[in-house]
């Protein structure tokens, strides 16, 4: 790894706290709206894993691209999509970032170079390699981040993508959000090799492991990771060890893990962790925290109001848009 940078200043730390809180409160609001039947379909919440998305996406440049999973609301918000456009998408409204066609699992924003929440586990990995290949072939110095869970490591597309990424020297940052379960199947019940960095390393991929519950170390690692990929023009795999505090989706009775285990991980809550570090250093007051919470609450409520007031895309517009006809005549 490179030389570590000096500890982040207070403004940076408060920004990180705000980012993680925005995700947490957004997800909590989504759960509430799901209960109120305003949001339907599958809903996968990111509570507990916030440090990974915040650390990595804050290290990217605005012209860097990323691919996400179906647990990607937070990633979208941190890359710069508005709460309004994401919430309206959750509501299935025309004002949503995908006109209400994608929903929770399929947020996109070409403007932010966010190429989607993908709901086929592992399916985005080859596309990320292709994006990196395009950048390399065009001589661009932008990079592509690709988020996926530990479940994706079992897919054949993981194997194919790791091999191609190294073989073709593509500038792709593979971020494995290892939350220990692929839906309800524990990693050690799914993988013969549970050391995922070792697995990635077997493709001659540079591979690191990071504590995904500690935002400050996550941010520093992400900074070095992005720098590695951009300057060496090679892929890098970072396993981020993290944990989701909530169920896999809204339909999951959580029979596969114990309450004790969840409670144990909640003691490592990245938001509480950063807050307490900052308090210990007298860098945050209760008023600061309160102010951040209030700003976020207003932003989210504004998003909900916006979504409530928005209408659905006209059916005909949606139907006629499956194929463009220009170009081929």
């Amino acid at each position: 790894m490179n030389t570590p940078s000096p500890p982040p200043d207070t403004d940076t730390c408060l920004g990180l706290l705000r980012d993680m809180l925005l995700i947490r409160r957004f997800e909590e609001k989504c759960a509430e709206l799901y209960g109120a039947q305003k949001i339907r379909g599958f809903l996968h919440l990111y509570n507990g894993e916030e440090a990974v998305a915040v650390g990595v996406l804050r290290a990217l440049r605005s012209d860097d691209a990323f691919f996400g999973t179906y647990r990607e609301h937070g990633h979208a918000l941190i890359k710069g999509l508005s709460v309004r456009s994401v919430m309206a998408e959750m509501f299935g409204r025309a004002t949503g970032c995908c006109k209400g066609r994608g929903g929770s699992m399929h947020l996109f924003s070409a403007e932010h170079r966010f190429y989607g929440g993908s709901a086929i586990v592992g399916g985005a990995l080859p596309m990320a390699v292709g994006m990196g290949l395009a950048d390399r072939m065009q001589g661009l110095d932008r990079i592509t981040a690709c988020f996926f869970g530990d479940g994706a490591v079992a897919e054949g597309e993981f194997h194919e993508a790791m091999n191609l990424a190294v073989l073709w020297k593509t500038p792709v940052l593979f971020i494995c959000e290892n939350n220990l379960y692929g839906m309800g199947t524990a990693l050690n019940r799914a993988q013969s090799q549970t050391d995922l960095s070792a697995k990635a390393g077997s493709y001659k991929m540079e591979a690191w492991t990071e504590d995904g519950m500690d935002i400050l170390s996550m941010m520093e690692t992400a900074r070095q990771a992005v720098d590695f990929v951009r300057t060496r023009k090679m892929p890098l795999f970072v396993e981020c060890r993290t944990y989701r505090f909530r169920a896999h989706s809204m339909f999951d009775p959580e029979l596969y893990r114990t309450r004790d285990e969840v409670e144990k991980w909640k003691k490592r809550d990245p938001i509480a962790g950063l807050t307490s570090t900052l308090r210990d250093q007298n860098r945050i007051t209760d008023q600061d925290r309160q102010r951040i919470e209030e700003e976020i609450a207003r932003e989210i409520q504004d998003g909900v109001d916006f979504a409530e007031q928005s209408s659905c895309e006209p059916f005909q517009d949606m139907c006629t848009d499956a194929c463009t006809m220009e170009g081929i005549a």
């Binding site: 994608g102 190429y115 990196g132 395009a134």
Partner: protein, 331 residues
């Protein structure tokens, strides 16, 4: 022969199309298994590596899903990739990428993320390659909204369809019937593109419409020539574009001839032929003088043995017999 024309093979036609696309746009590149040093499984890309280099004539490992997905990603990233899949049976290994990603991304993203990707693959039987190298899956892919499906039968189409396909903002799949690669045709020396929207009447006639595409076109034309000697003038329509289907040209012909046989190398059940006949029934049933019928492949995994495999495929005599049945009520 006119100095303005030349006789070339279908293979050379595809290669010429590739060369032109590579010459005209630096963002175009070809990737697939053995497209480079080997020269292409069917020798289509032979010589291109020397001319365009390893970056743009990119050999891939055996990972259809991986390199097809990489094609999608590079298309999103500003390139114009042409992915070659050796044979359409292998495309099943890339179905996730083609169906879940290439076909969906533009629509699902609310129009933000078009995937201007071209995928070429060989299709069809008749080469004694048995049940994992001989099938015709273009009808399957034609089921998928978000994809465009081209099936060039003539050398002119094989050469001229690629550039318009690359210009399309959506993914286009081109199915090349492998039996056609050696077929020769006289084409204009000057390279030109062709339209990729409409079917074409390859042989005009007034007694029966024969609707087909790809490798079956020439068997159908052969049957039509034979029937002509019996006083049956068949109109032969080459669909060329399997999705979106040019229903208009089909209906126009059927309304005129009042009889129709669809020739489709796919399996009968749930086939493209079923779709075409359904559209005909929906829109001009009362113009018909006989039930619409079809000649498809036998519903078995294709066997190796030559005589058995040939019997599995649509053949001129089967096509002619189908026509005789609906024209005279005889076999």
């Amino acid at each position: 022969m006119s100095p303005k024309t030349a006789t070339i093979t279908y293979r050379e036609g595809v290669r010429e199309g590739l060369r032109r696309a590579l010459l005209n746009d630096p963002k175009v590149f070809l990737m697939g298994e053995d497209v480079g040093r080997y020269g292409g499984c069917y020798a289509v890309s032979k010589g291109l590596l020397e001319e365009f280099g390893e970056d743009r004539i990119r050999d891939t490992p055996l990972c259809e899903s991986g390199f097809t997905g990489a094609g999608i990603g590079s298309a999103l990233g500003g390139m114009r990739p042409i992915v070659e899949i050796m044979t359409c049976n292998f495309s099943l290994l890339a179905l996730d990428q083609i169906v879940n990603n290439a076909a969906t991304l533009r629509h699902m993203s609310g129009g933000q993320c078009p995937v201007p990707l071209v995928i070429r693959m060989a299709t069809g039987g008749g080469r004694q390659l048995a049940a994992q190298h001989s099938h015709s899956f273009e009808g399957w892919f034609a089921h998928i909204p978000g994809l465009k499906i081209l099936a060039p039968a003539t050398v002119e189409d094989a050469r001229g369809m690629l550039e318009p396909a690359l210009a399309d903002p959506d993914p286009v799949l081109i199915f090349e019937n492998a039996l056609l690669y050696n077929r020769e045709e006289s084409v204009t020396r000057d390279y030109h593109t062709v339209q990729c929207l409409r079917a074409v009447v390859r042989r005009p006639g007034q007694n029966v419409s024969l609707i087909t595409y790809g490798g079956s076109l020439f068997k159908t034309l052969e049957a039509a020539a034979e029937l002509s000697g019996e006083g049956i003038e068949a109109e032969v329509i080459d669909l060329r574009v399997l999705r979106p289907l040019d229903t208009e040209t089909v209906l126009e012909s059927v309304r005129k001839t009042r009889r129709v046989v669809v020739v489709d190398e796919g399996w009968r059940s749930g086939s493209l032929s079923a779709e075409i006949i359904t559209r005909i029934c929906e829109q001009c049933l009362y113009d018909l003088d006989a039930p619409p019928t079809r000649v498809c492949s036998e519903e078995v995994p294709f066997p190796y043995a030559a005589e058995l495999e040939q019997q599995c495929l649509p053949q001129p005599d089967k096509i002619a017999n189908a026509v005789r049945r609906i024209c005279h009520g005889q076999t």
